[in-house]
Symmetry: C2
Subunit: 118 residues, 2 copies
Amino acid sequence: MATAALDTHELIALSLLAEGPLYGYAISQRARSRSSGDVTLTPGVLYPLLKRLEKGGLILGEWDEVKSERAAGDAPGRRRKWYRLTPRGAKRLHAQAEAHRAHARMVEAFLTAPEGSA
Amino acid sequence: MATAALDTHELIALSLLAEGPLYGYAISQRARSRSSGDVTLTPGVLYPLLKRLEKGGLILGEWDEVKSERAAGDAPGRRRKWYRLTPRGAKRLHAQAEAHRAHARMVEAFLTAPEGSA
DNA sequence: ACAGATATGTTGACATCCGATATATTGACA
DNA sequence: TGTCAATATATCGGATGTCAACATATCTGT
């Protein structure tokens, strides 16, 4: 532990992907709605994060081409990159979850300090 | 909230100072012992932190000259800077404590995700 | 005299956060 | 048809915090 934060953003992203594959924008939307607006994964945070996670082998991305109904046949279409949790990512999620709880307990111990403990 | 970490180090330092005045080194020792070795406030973290807190008016520092028994009369002696919480610091402590709990609850909500919630 | 604990600080490398900027597609509405 | 908001991805640069390492000096025990 030693320090602290443990990357809340990472933990949130991994936990959302644990429920099934999602693309970046969907992750940010779910993070926002599930936290009642408290968590905002801006592009500047989200995409570097996903890149890190993929590079670390915790998630796996796959491009998808979404075709619109009224688009031309050879039009590029909107790109989506779907991510899914790897076994290693799932393992990390559980480890980080436990670390987060341990961290919360640790801080709580300082806050509820029994007056006479050095 | 939006982001996360909320400066655990700050919260720990403030909580320790809420129990009474302490100098830097004592803070690091207490942080270590109370967390059973998990929290290590290295000089590179501790002193910039104390500087920030003092600059922000959350704590107030006062130098103390400790004289040793076998030192010469005009010897400089060991310096200690005692810090105490200001009213503003106490207010911040409570706010940060509440923020920390809210943050922990928020993360926990992601971890204990009720399968069928978008 | 020496080593280890006490005590405070700075420095530089590294990572993350976050607002701003950029590009392109899609859907809705006028 | 034009335009605007939402969708969808991504990068950039400034600011901040972390941390090991370096630096200095005093005190205590042997």
